[in-house]
């Protein structure tokens, strides 16, 4: 008896020792390349800044793979402390109430200051519940913006358009000067989701899906969305818009080669573009329709960090510590300047400004300015389950539109129907 008791004490001692020294936490993310390296650098900075916690970041591949791995790990009780989830996956993880600890509760529970007003307006609601409580911690945020081939503009003698009406006026001149006026890398994000936000259009019933999972229906075959895609098809037929499939880089490449006047990309694209573009370029906001309004702010793109549930208190304390560290202006500016993602707090934006970052690289400011534009009733975000699949349906139908197999209205009707079936199914799984 004494022997087994002493063994128990011994075992307790050996397991407790490392925990006393440092609490280990893990962070699974879906970033590669330079962005993945910056994540490692930030983790290193966090580990050096304090001694109580030790953070290990781990890349799980793409956004979708990171979410899938996180879910599989949660089901077997092996979840990481922090999981990065992208915009389209937000509804999935937020509908699973017991899977995460809301970031706001976690940080306040650890006795750290937290204020929603510190964050720039465009990021406040996307990862928050319907009361505005932050569930996910906004991390890498981006906005769809329009990159501009300045050479092409000068040659054709046109100004950078701010509305699609202005684009329609400039396009014939650009085409006459030998340029393809427009390409875009992700129609789902840029011409559906952010067509809705930039023009302040309702995207789903139930207050864009925020109020309830049950009965939420998407709104994509309405007159205005159909108009947007009729226009795109018309532009493609006139040689004003080039569609190169659903892949991101296939649509970016002609712009890099200097053959295209305007390319709709991400605010996070500019780091890579500075290296690959063969001509001088600049950037502006994603255009809006003057016929629909004044141009409101866009939805936040990118991803947020979620604190997974089911972890011991000391580890949760470290996660809170890291979230605070991450939102400090210095960390945000480091992230912003090294990756091109926008800073998520006003203080970080001011710091980058005071350091003269935007005088050196004016393009880096476009994304954050677009997110700080006046908002509207429908610009705070959307919440729809199985959204990655809904995007796949959209991609399928858009391919069919531009290969001439289906009219835009019919394609959007199909998307409406299939997306609603998925949403109904999601309501059943979440119910």
């Amino acid at each position: 008896m004494i022997k087994s008791a002493s063994l128990f004490v011994l075992a307790l001692g050996t397991t407790a020792l490392p925990a006393l020294a440092q609490t280990e936490i893990t962070w699974w993310h879906g970033m590669g390349g330079r962005n993945g390296e910056v994540i490692n650098e930030i983790s290193q900075m966090f580990n050096e800044a304090q001694s109580a916690c030790h953070l290990t970041p781990l890349s799980k591949g793409t956004y979708e793979e990171a979410l899938a791995s996180g879910i599989a790990a949660f089901r077997s009780g092996e979840q990481p402390n922090i999981l990065q989830v992208f915009d389209a996956g937000a509804a999935t993880i937020m509908a699973a109430k017991g899977a995460t600890i809301p970031a706001e509760e976690l940080i306040q529970g650890a006795g750290k200051p937290f204020s929603r007003e510190d964050f720039i307006p465009g990021v406040r609601n996307f990862y928050a519940d319907s009361t505005g409580k932050f569930v996910g911690m906004p991390f890498n945020s981006s906005a769809p913006i329009m990159y501009v081939n300045t050479e092409a503009l000068a040659k054709a003698g046109v100004e950078m358009p701010t509305t699609w009406e202005e684009f329609e006026a400039a396009a014939p001149k650009l085409a006459a000067a030998g340029y393809l006026p427009l390409t875009a890398s992700q129609l789902t994000w840029q011409f559906v989701e952010n067509f809705k936000s930039r023009n302040n259009q309702q995207f789903a019933t139930n207050n864009n899906g925020y109020d309830a999972v049950q009965g939420t229906e998407i709104i994509v075959n309405d007159t205005n969305t159909v108009m947007m895609f009729d226009k795109l098809k018309d532009w493609a037929d006139k040689g004003w818009y080039g569609f190169y499939g659903a892949g991101w880089s296939d649509n970016q490449k002609p712009f890099e080669e200097g053959k295209v006047a305007f390319w709709i990309g991400s605010s996070g694209s500019f780091g890579g573009l500075s290296k690959t573009a063969t001509m001088p370029f600049s950037a502006g906001f994603l255009p809006y329709w003057a016929s629909l309004g004044q141009g409101t702010q866009s939805f936040i793109g990118g991803a947020a960090l979620f604190a997974m549930a089911g972890k011991p208190d000391d580890q949760n304390g470290c996660t809170a510590e890291f979230f605070s560290f991450l939102t400090s202006p210095e960390t945000q500016v480091y992230w912003h300047e090294n990756t091109g993602y926008v800073p998520v707090t006003t203080a970080a934006y001011e710091l980058a400004k005071s350091q003269g970052w935007y005088e050196k690289t004016p393009v880096a400011e476009v994304g954050i300015q677009q997110l700080m534009l006046p908002g509207g009733e429908w610009t705070k975000g959307y919440r729809m389950g199985f959204f990655p699949q809904i995007r796949s349906i959209e991609e399928r139908e858009f391919n069919r539109i531009f290969s001439g197999e289906v009219a835009p209205k019919d394609a959007l009707d199909i998307i409406q129907k299939e997306a609603d079936e998925l949403l109904a199914k999601f309501a059943k799984t979440a119910g």
Partner: protein, 317 residues
């Protein structure tokens, strides 16, 4: 077999290799009834853990609608299957899978056989020639697809530029059938060397005496091939048929994944890719389980058909 002590080691070895087959060895008897089971357990455990258990799980979860995080599952009976049968998209993918498998299998077998027959006749530099044909087999499917992707690139692909010479606008990734064409070319290219190896060794095991006898009977090379060589190759061909169908159905996953670049859009895909898409990317566990059960049944039926109907026609010499 008596061996004279004066033979060298090499000669002994040759004799041993070419020794006539003796009567079959006597069945081994174990002292205890449990011993054979002890030998079987590791193998059975692997089969149960890695095959039966996951299969049973797939069947179970195909009757449920489950939230991805596993907080709750609702029994929905055959709803997931009903959804599949109603889905136009699923029917279209099933149709494409059948078409794709048939075309890839036919072309890969046909080209493999053609190359093997021709290589069998090469006398000078036969080694390097065969190595060159076989080496492609060492390339992993995703790598093969990457090479294919460069060939079929929308902007700079040589295949795209070649098609443009004939005034054809090849748009892999956008046009459904253009992508199907690229998928088939890459999948066939990847599989031909495998078939080539087996057909070649099959051809080389056709006895010289039989070939010579055939040479006297028929002057036409084609007739000799159809009447003598082909029937002797039947066991090899049957084996390869099963392997190739399985390859086209399942192993082309890596190729499809690379070609559609994570975004299948309106591009063709096979049933296996759809299971992955819905299960892993869409987090729809019930729906994708139902799909994998459908796939399991399909493979079972296919195997039975192949062995029951086709094997009867195969003559094992």
């Amino acid at each position: 077999m008596t061996v004279s002590p004066s033979l060298s080691l090499a000669q002994r070895l040759r004799l041993w290799v070419s020794r006539p087959a003796g009567p079959p060895a006597k069945a081994v008897q174990f002292d205890r009834a449990l011993t054979p089971w002890a030998f079987l357990v590791p193998q059975l455990a692997i089969v149960v853990i890695f095959f039966y258990w996951p299969s049973a799980q797939a069947v179970t979860s195909s009757f449920y609608l489950e939230d991805p995080f596993g907080f709750g599952a609702t029994f929905v009976g055959l709803d997931n299957y009903a959804d599949l049968s109603r889905s136009n998209e699923y029917r279209q993918i099933a149709g494409f899978t059948a078409f794709f498998s048939a075309v890839v299998t036919a072309l890969a077998l046909g080209l493999g056989l053609l190359l093997a027959v021709k290589a069998d006749k090469v006398i000078r530099a036969a080694g390097p020639y065969k190595t060159a044909l076989i080496s492609v087999y060492a390339i992993a499917p995703p790598v093969a697809a990457l090479i294919g992707m460069m060939l079929f690139d929308l902007h700079i692909g040589p295949a795209t530029q070649f098609a443009a010479l004939f005034g054809y606008d090849l748009r892999v990734g956008i046009d459904y059938w253009d992508t199907a064409f690229a998928l088939i070319v890459i999948s066939v290219w990847k599989q031909v060397p495998y078939n080539f190896i087996f057909f070649l060794s099959g051809l080389q095991s056709v006895p010289v005496s039989v070939r010579e006898a055939a040479l006297i009977d028929a002057r036409s090379g084609w007739r000799r091939f159809v009447d003598v060589t082909l029937p002797l190759l039947a066991p090899t061909a049957f084996f390869l048929l099963i392997i190739n169908v399985t390859y086209a159905l399942f192993d082309t996953f890596g190729i499809i994944d690379v070609i559609v670049k994570d975004k299948p859009a309106n591009n063709p895909m096979t049933l296996v890719y759809k299971v992955y898409l819905d299960g892993f990317k869409g987090n729809d566990i019930g729906g994708s389980s139902a799909q994998s059960v459908v796939l399991m049944v399909l493979v079972a039926v296919l195997t039975v058909v192949q062995f029951r109907l086709l094997e009867r026609r195969v003559h094992y010499g």
